[in-house]
């Protein structure tokens, strides 16, 4: 029992770390020849990856996966809510600035 759990946790950690390292690649791909550029694609990708990581932490590390339905739904709703807030403020803000 303990073995499978620990293996699973190790895999989870590896996945999370890989996603973190993906940010380095994302960061390098954003600049063209060292010129800084605002990029909606990078922004949205960064936020989405972060939220996916948050959900994995919820489900695996925080053991929501074994939790009652209410808590599982609630944490999922929260991830969606955060996404809505973050992307919403980004896009609505962009639209207002023009």
């Amino acid at each position: 029992m303990s073995g499978t759990f620990n293996k699973r946790l190790a895999i989870v950690w590896l996945v999370l770390t890989a996603m973190t390292l993906a940010y380095i690649w994302l960061d390098h791909s954003a600049d063209e020849d060292g010129v800084l550029k605002a990029s909606t694609v990078v922004t949205v990708a960064a936020i989405v990856i972060a939220l996916v990581k948050v959900r994995i932490i919820f489900r695996e590390f925080m053991e929501v996966r074994h939790a009652p339905v209410l808590l599982r739904r609630l944490t999922d709703a929260w991830v969606v809510l955060m996404a809505a807030f973050l992307l919403g403020s980004y896009f609505i803000g962009s639209a207002l600035v023009g």
Partner: protein, 198 residues
Amino acid sequence: MTNLQEDSSTKADRHATRFVPGQPDMWVFVLFESLLFTGYFSVYLVGRIQNRELYLQSQAALDLRFGVFNTIALLLSSWAIARCVQASREGAYRDALRDAFLTIGFGVAFLVSKVLEWGKEIRLGNTFTSNEFFQHFFFLTSIHLLHLLIGFIVMGVAVYQLRSPARRSQQLVETCATYWHTVDFLWVLIFALLYVVR
């Protein structure tokens, strides 16, 4: 992520008894606090859009390596505390205690690297009052660091629980772990927003 989810819906799992890890009360904190931080993040993103060039230039002064190192340090600590919860659930308290100390160790690594990073930025002349980006940078990182410091107190409670057979309360250990994971996932968001977002 998808394959992990498929794993979780295997039959054996579905029949296992459902339980809330730790005190359900702690989840109120987790949800409320993440909502609060979402508020801070939204304010930051809106400010960013209004002044893209300034934020981009200032962001370039940040060292992505610090951010990545910090994220991995906290992910390691989260991993350790998750193992600690498993070990203590199975009664392996020596292992649990070791994992708890590992958690604190990775937390300290994060703390040291954060302070070094601040020192570096301040030497570069980027302080809390320099410009809008650094206001947000120092604000978000220091309020998060405050959570981490409280996290050390929380880990102290967990170690105190694990130490003596008379006190051991699995629920309290899980509550402490939930708090620590919150510190972790808040940093995951802060890292993405401060270092990577363009």
